[in-house]
């Protein structure tokens, strides 16, 4: 059975500019111990799916669909039940570690705080556990670092601290929302290694959100390509990246090929006025008449008219 199963997740925002369809019928499954990568350009709704799972969407969001996690339907849980799942069962790492740490408390204090959220834990005990966690995420001299404030940490160290907080309860699912985007390339590699090690060590399932295909290929078993609020292709990383089916996936992979940069022409459509038919058709090099009219269905791991026939 899947650890997490999202079916028909719709997230709409009602704004002055109209209804924003940030997630338009997303289906995803993550198995126990599997790591899945959600890739796509900026603004295609990746983060919204993650926040939807956590039920931390902004107040003007309307969410519908089903999110099954360990036999529970998250969207129908009460607020208090959901709160107990957050942090303990599903943890999340955010894009900018610097803003996620409260500047007025020491880093160690905040890691220890995570330990006290769900269980009673004495100050001393939580401090010891926090130092263990800091060792686990390879923060050097944790005793000394425990007493330092977030601004005394480098970006990479801050992200390590965030990972320590996220793993404090050994959650079944870790959602990492672009955890490497704000770091230097060398630090990115370190954090990636660390995450990979920890995830396999604790058999934590990982939902990694990124637009870096290299990271995705390196870290994940499965991949789901998202475009304008829907999944256009999914499958094993090895298959999808080697034999991409959807023109969008091809274009994404082609954009960083060895022949130099090949940007995808055009940009992600405004989520308030999505094109009819296949959402990718205005940018698709293989566009046909049917693409402009009918919305393709997800078949054999790809949402494209060209593949429906063959």
């Amino acid at each position: 059975m899947d650890l997490l199963q999202i079916s028909n997740l719709y997230v709409n925002f009602t704004t002055k500019a109209g209804v924003v369809r940030a997630s338009d019928g997303v289906n995803l499954e993550i198995k126990q111990g599997e790591s899945l990568c959600l890739v796509g350009e900026s603004g295609c709704g990746k983060t919204i799916v993650a926040l939807g799972i956590m039920r931390l969407l902004p107040q003007n969001a309307q969410i519908s669909g089903k999110i099954w996690f360990k036999g529970k339907e998250l969207l129908s849980l009460g607020k208090e039940e959901m709160r107990r799942i957050r942090g303990r069962e599903i943890a999340m790492i955010f894009e900018q570690p610097a803003t996620c740490l409260d500047p007025v408390f020491t880093v160690g204090d905040q890691i220890a705080e995570a330990m006290r959220v769900h269980e009673r834990c004495s100050g001393k005990e939580s401090k010891e556990k926090a130092i263990d966690l800091m060792e686990m995420v390879e923060i050097p001299s944790p005793q000394k670092r425990f007493k330092q404030y977030p601004h005394e940490f480098s970006g990479g160290m801050q992200q390590r601290a965030m990972i320590a907080i996220a793993l404090s309860y050994n959650p079944s699912l870790l959602i990492a929302d672009e955890p490497m985007t704000f770091l230097d390339v060398t630090i990115q590699a370190q954090i990636m290694e660390l995450l990979k090690d920890l995830v396999s060590k604790f058999r934590t399932s990982l939902l990694l959100i990124t637009h870096d295909l290299g990271v995705a290929a390196e870290m994940c078993d499965g991949v789901a390509v998202m475009y304008a609020g829907e999944i256009v292709e999914k499958g094993r990383v090895s298959e999808v990246f080697k034999y991409p089916k959807h023109p969008y996936t091809k274009a994404l992979l082609g954009a960083i090929s060895n022949d130099g940069l090949k940007p995808i022409k055009g940009s992600v459509p405004e989520l308030t006025s999505l094109p009819s038919g296949c959402k990718f058709h205005p940018r698709c090099p293989l566009v046909r008449d049917v693409c402009r009219e009918a919305r393709p269905e997800m078949k054999n791991g790809v949402r494209c008219h060209l593949w429906e026939k063959s």
Binding site: C100, V104, V117
Partner: protein, 294 residues
């Protein structure tokens, strides 16, 4: 004079930084010194007064300042200096009580309004708007007048009027703080709203509240003295600066020292708190931190 740079490289805790910032501001240091000496005066009053502040000496009425009575005597022959020293107690008590009540209740209401939003926010902030539509002192005068004279009623009246500014400022800070990343991160690890409110959101509003409380001390002492001057606050024979002004008013021409010294006491105290408050505002504001040129 050159400053030793290596000493500055040591990371000093936040409090020390604030103290450092305060030290650079001369007026704030003066303010702090006056406030500290006022507090000492209030605590040590029984030991340092030259005479009993309440005992009447009808044969020694309206004496000018002399060695025996450094600030002279009032219309009932009481030592003005002693009364001023005891008056410090009353003023500081009123100030601390009122500022304590208003700062805490105003902050809590502002925190609730800002964090929860919606109908609760509307209710609290509309009450604030209504209260702020009246001039503070006039409203306090009306409330104290309705409740009847007495120091306690004055404190009550000033509290009812005073909490609104704290609520407004704290709500503003909370509105910006609750959108910060660490609040979302705290939610993501499953912290409860109550916990997030007090641990992560309230500290964001702390430094403006500290500054406002210090400035509020001045305002409260001044207002309490004004209400006492109008006969609503401290009742005779309690030595209170405002009521001393009031009783001395009749002898303005024959014995001006009767109102000069209480007036000076009020002015110096209020000024001291204002200097200190201004200094604290500069010291606590991280945006005004100076960069050291090397």
């Amino acid at each position: 004079m050159e400053r030793a740079i290596p000493a500055r490289e040591k990371v000093s805790p936040y409090i020390l930084e604030v103290v450092d910032g305060l030290k650079e501001n001369r007026l704030a240091v003066v303010g702090l010194a006056i406030v500290v000496s006022l507090v000492l005066m209030a605590i040590l009053a029984p030991f340092i007064v030259p005479h009993d502040p309440i005992e009447l000496h009808l044969d020694l009425r309206l004496l000018s300042p002399s060695w025996q009575y450094p600030l002279g005597t009032d219309d009932l022959g009481r030592c003005i200096l002693s009364r001023l020293i005891y008056g410090t107690r009353v003023s500081l008590q009123v100030g601390v009580m009122v500022v304590g009540i208003t700062a805490i209740s105003g902050s809590l209401l502002g925190l609730t309004a800002g964090y929860l939003g919606g109908i609760i926010d509307e209710i609290i902030m509309r009450i604030v708007d209504v209260l702020l539509a009246f001039p503070g002192l006039i409203l306090a005068l009306v409330i104290a007048g309705l409740l009847g004279p007495g120091l306690f009623n004055v404190m009550l009246a000033l509290s009812v009027v005073g909490w609104t500014r704290y609520a407004r400022v704290v709500r503003g800070c909370v509105l910006s703080a609750k959108e910060r990343g660490f609040v979302e991160a705290a939610r993501a690890i499953g912290s409860s709203n109550f916990y997030i409110m007090f641990r992560h959101v309230l500290p964001e509003a702390l430094s403006p509240v500290i500054v406002m409380s210090t400035l509020g001390m001045g305002w409260t002492i001044l207002s309490a003295a004004a209400l006492s001057f109008l006969g609503l606050g401290a009742q005779p024979p309690m030595p209170e600066w405002g009521s001393m002004l009031n009783s001395g008013r009749a002898f303005l021409r024959v014995a001006p020292h009767l109102i000069t010294f209480p007036g000076l006491a009020i002015m110096v105290t209020v000024l001291a708190f204002n200097f200190l408050g201004d200094g604290l505002r500069d010291a606590l504001d991280p945006r005004q931190k100076k960069r050291v040129e090397i």
